[in-house]
């Protein structure tokens, strides 16, 4: 457990050194500013326009960062062989693998915090503010970013970062269109659809959509249920990745 904590801190520190993550933050802040200007073009509930736009920007930034971090965190250390010295220490391979996921989780939590602060500041300017529903939605987005990171870590064991990023986005796309997958499967589509439905999480569960804009928060039990569903899927991918990494020749 100590090794997981030490290595997670290392993963977070390494992520803080990745310049591209600051670029993503800068682009997200710029898009939020654009959202603010867009909101000025409407009469009435300007905050809803900004909230709509801002939540989308935050979702893209958060998932993008988690995917980018997941595809590189482990792969880079394997390719640069910096993992050799770490794995000469009394560290279980599982601890090493899980710490990457944990580190990305901590980093994306901080990232979600910064993005939320930007958005709430913008909402205050246009007369709105952060509602419970908004923070619930950011929490579920963070869990989606954990799913993205765990899939990215798993795929990075086989694929180069570019290809694993595209594959993660494909899985997330399928996850957000789970209903259509089920519909097509029920219409007697290819057996592949059943497989796809089985191996992808239903990510619509983690989206609050209009509930945020109309300030209709989830009940505590429903929020926990949805969060648990997302976390469960993320842990499934972590478990699979760990099983592969455990016997991988480095």
């Amino acid at each position: 457990m100590i090794a997981v904590w030490v290595l997670s801190k290392l993963a977070v520190r390494n992520l803080f050194r990745e310049k591209i993550l600051y670029n993503v933050l800068f682009v997200a802040a710029f898009l939020l500013l654009l959202g603010y200007f867009a909101s000025l073009l409407v009469w009435g509930r300007q905050d809803r326009v900004l909230l709509h736009f801002g939540t989308l920007v935050n979702a893209l930034a958060l998932v993008g960062v988690a995917t980018g971090a997941g595809t590189r965190a482990l792969r880079t250390e394997i390719e640069d062989r910096t993992s050799y010295l770490i794995l000469s220490r009394p560290v279980h391979r599982s601890a090493y693998y899980v710490s990457k996921w944990f580190g990305i989780g901590i980093f994306s939590f901080l990232y979600a915090g910064v993005l939320s602060a930007f958005l709430v500041a913008g909402l205050k300017v246009v007369g709105g503010g952060g509602s419970i529903g908004f923070f619930q939605s950011m929490g579920l987005l963070w869990i989606e970013s954990l799913i993205a990171a765990s899939i990215a870590l798993l795929l990075s064991l086989f694929l180069k970062p570019g290809l694993s990023s595209v594959s993660v986005l494909a899985v997330l796309f399928l996850g957000h269109n789970h209903e259509q997958l089920v519909f097509l499967k029920n219409k007697g589509g290819s057996p592949l659809l059943s497989v796809l439905q089985g191996i992808t999480p239903d990510l619509s569960v983690l989206l609050m959509d209009t509930r945020v804009y109309y300030e209709l928060p989830l009940s505590a039990s429903e929020f926990l249920l949805r969060a648990g569903y997302g976390m469960g899927w993320s842990l499934v991918f972590v478990f699979l990745g760990n099983a592969v990494f455990f016997r991988k020749n480095l």
Partner: protein
């Protein structure tokens, strides 16, 4: 001081191949506790692969390597091994202190022991004044010494050195030799590879000679000279 006769590392016919090429052919041998064993062979003979198998970085397809009666992976995960890789595989963006603190943390040292241990090992290798520098600013020789400093953290009982003298100036070589002699006196089990027979003569109790993944010889250097 003669090494303890009980074998600490036992090679039980490990086999490893990659992309159809056999890199380590099954063989039986052992390294005794407290022994300093030199692994000799040309480039590509399988020395580094053998070290990776001991460290559990690679897994044998057949056979096994036992350390202290446990599988190599299990021993490493429990006790850790001191390891110096053939090249300085470190993240150069790290600071030297950060690098040592990381390894002290991984070696299981308590928070208040870490700083004393970092001070001790950095002084031992003459790098105390460089603690706040980034590894990127280190010369090749300094990096090699930095990795030596990290491997002595946590007092490992088994030490694997892959070409430890590579890139070192004569003064640093002397420093490394004296540390290796000290480890020998402390009865640590050492495996090292080298292309310098002078180092082997000075430090090794026995030699293990590999050729294209095959074990050719295990014994003393003088026996090897007679043999070859």
């Amino acid at each position: 001081m003669s090494p303890d006769e009980s074998p600490v590392i036992r090679f039980k016919r490990p086999k490893f191949s990659m992309k159809g090429k056999v890199l380590v052919t099954p063989f039986e041998a052992s390294v005794r506790s407290g022994e300093c064993m030199a692994v000799l062979g040309h480039n590509g003979a399988g020395k580094t692969t053998l070290f990776h198998l001991i460290l559990g970085l690679k897994f044998p397809e057949g056979g096994e390597i036992l350390i202290g009666g446990l599988s190599a992976l299990e021993f490493r995960a429990r006790s850790g091994l001191g390891y110096l890789p053939e090249r300085p595989y470190v993240n150069l963006d790290w600071g030297f202190r950060e690098f040592l603190e990381l390894h002290a943390g991984l070696a299981g040292l308590h928070r208040d022991q870490i700083s004393a241990e970092v001070d001790r090992v950095s002084r031992n290798y003459g790098l105390h004044a460089n603690l706040n520098q980034r590894l990127r600013s280190f010369s090749k020789g300094m990096l090699q010494k930095a990795i030596f400093a990290q491997l002595s953290i946590g007092d490992p009982s088994v030490i694997i050195l892959d070409e430890p003298m590579s890139g070192l100036d004569p003064e640093a070589r002397e420093l490394v030799r004296s540390h290796m002699s000290e480890w020998k006196q402390q009865k640590k089990t050492i495996l090292f590879s080298s292309h310098s027979l002078e180092d082997v003569e000075l430090l090794a109790d026995r030699v293990m000679v590999l050729k294209e993944g095959n074990l050719q010889f295990v014994g003393s250097l003088s026996e090897w000279r007679t043999h070859s």
